[in-house]
Symmetry: C2
Subunit: 355 residues, 2 copies
């Protein structure tokens, strides 16, 4: 708020509301809550159905009802007047054009400034947050170990996803995003979630899944071979692994020298290596921040200039996708703590052949 010289911010993003209130009960489908924060006051706008829960769990915010008699736009207008707000930040990445027009119908648009201040705060995690992500990763590692033992010829991709998610939930976690399980040539479609394709021998199995535990997310990918890998399968796999290791080495070296690291540079190292080995250019970003959301800042992607700093948590996930043949991805999460790159995912990465 200080940097942008804002008098107040209107927070609409649910992950940002969870971050500021520690309350994760608001629905994500409809617009159930807003926060308005000034230098002296904190307001929570919500529907009557959340009133009891809000009064119990969100004590540091003054409650303002959202209903037909008291529309949020009117309440915002009153607060702008009462607090003499000259510059009000709003979350332009979160509010739809329709919501913006409706909420600020009676407000002079000139006082409204787009802001991502809370999302930006969230990029630097404290140790409690990093611990929460570590715990989510640890359950992901256990689930990965479990699923390897459960694989049988003839299981469908859906069966494998189900077994994986069953294990996660039985152990107290939730799923942080739609689980991807892809066998053989299906893995070449990055979009492929899972289907009725059944496991055969001698093919790659690609898993990309995440755990949500105490609101914080994990995300990991592993690719292993069901059967006996051929020499070229091994080469492809090793190239992905080396591409990831090159990015890790680069970041570690920069950290040890206390030099600045831009997300785009780590991405370039990994990407260039794959191309140098004759594989297609990485068809997506090398990595993304993670926390209350699966995808958040920072990014490891071309033209991303933000510096990777202590407290950031992100993925490093190169891959090779060859249409009609296979897909390979290896993805781990890392935190930067005390100028060190700390791996949060601990599942082995040498090419595993399951027979």
């Amino acid at each position: 708020m200080l940097k942008q010289k804002l008098d107040a911010v209107l927070i609409s993003s649910i992950p940002n509301i969870i971050y500021l209130t520690d309350f994760s009960g608001f629905g994500t489908k409809d617009r159930d809550a807003f926060l308005l924060i000034t230098n002296t006051h904190q307001y929570l706008f919500t529907h009557a159905i959340y009133r009891d829960a809000a009064m119990k769990f969100i004590k540091k915010f003054e409650l303002i009802g959202m209903n037909r008699e008291n529309p949020t736009g009117e309440s915002i207008k009153k607060l702008i007047i009462n607090h003499s707000i000259k510059k009000l930040g709003f979350e332009d990445a979160n509010l739809s054009v329709w919501e913006f027009e409706r909420l600020f119908k009676k407000v002079n648009k000139k006082i409204l400034l787009p802001t991502g201040v809370v999302s930006q705060l969230r990029t630097i995690k404290n140790t409690d947050e990093i611990d929460a992500i570590k715990n989510a990763c640890a359950l992901g590692d256990k689930a990965y170990s479990h699923i390897q033992k459960s694989l049988r010829i003839g299981m469908s991709e859906k069966d494998v996803a189900f077994e994986l998610e069953y294990f996660i939930r039985k152990n107290g976690g939730e799923i942080s995003f739609t689980t991807i399980v892809a066998f053989g040539e299906n893995a070449a479609y990055i979009h492929h979630e899972k289907g009725n394709r059944r496991l055969k021998s001698d093919e790659f199995v690609l898993l990309d899944f995440g755990v949500k535990l105490n609101n914080y997310c994990s995300d990991m990918s592993r690719t292993f071979f069901f059967g006996k890998a051929r020499a070229d399968d091994r080469k492809s796999y090793q190239s992905v692994l080396k591409s990831q290791q090159n990015a890790i080495d680069y970041i570690e070296e920069k950290l040890s020298k206390k030099e600045k690291i831009q997300g785009e540079m780590a991405d370039k190292i990994s990407r260039d290596y794959l191309v140098s080995q004759g594989f297609p250019n990485l068809p997506y970003s090398l990595g993304h921040g993670i926390g209350l959301e699966v995808h958040e800042a920072p990014r490891l992607t071309p033209a991303y200039k933000q510096i990777l700093e202590n407290g950031m948590v992100f993925s490093i996930e190169p891959g090779i996708y060859l249409t009609g043949k296979f897909g390979i991805r290896i993805e781990d999460l890392f935190a930067i703590e005390n100028n060190k790159l700390i791996p949060l995912t601990h599942s082995p990465k040498d090419l595993i052949e399951i027979k």
Copy 2:
């Protein structure tokens, strides 16, 4: 498009893209695809990672790559020039303010008109769509029957949700929204999803859950008594049931007379009855449309003027929520077909006491 006299529309909502392309592979977290539809041409913008899938599954659209060298905003601008587009519709309920500014940076804002044309088309379902929702409801009914047999004292709300979802997925469905399981006084918090609270005897159990099958959603709520209900518990339950029946009777009567029904009127009938019985005013809307999304148009809610028509599918779901005591909700889906209100949910609604 005709009504608004648009020359073209840019479609960004993923459910709307599924509706128009029959392809459900695009992710929902990032912005992976747009459609631009003119009177003569259909374009699909997507990332390279979706190219193969798009070419295989979305044949009626011309493919335009989305990448740094060819940003979507530039492609849109070229098409506006090539097709002499004077009025371009955009989905204001779906595009964020940030996306709007970025996509249309180089476009004269005066040619841009907010539209909900595809969302509006989706409110009228064809028989294939209604059948898909019926199938999702039928699996919901089976899951509800299954869970009643599985309840035991000492199970947690999470255990019950897990067992319910396990059954749905084992039978080929997905979950259409976060399952709600609430025991006793927890059910009075409408937001309550589920927790570690364990089932005791003599309390209400509230379930609100949905199935997704072939992209189409179901949504149902049932409340039953675990143990022996007291007289006032019965009275509360019967009042919710009667409140729902009154709305059903009202809609059926209007349909039989071929009179117009506004969503707000059905809501009022149900709401007024609860208040007349001494219960709190319904703290949410009586009903919502459902289809590719769990919540879509039409709405049964105050001040909603749109007419309920043949081909619409929606919920009717009154409830009573008494803080510190209990919550009761009964929710069924209905379709209007041939001027008749057809129930799609078939689980029994008399107060069940499980011993």
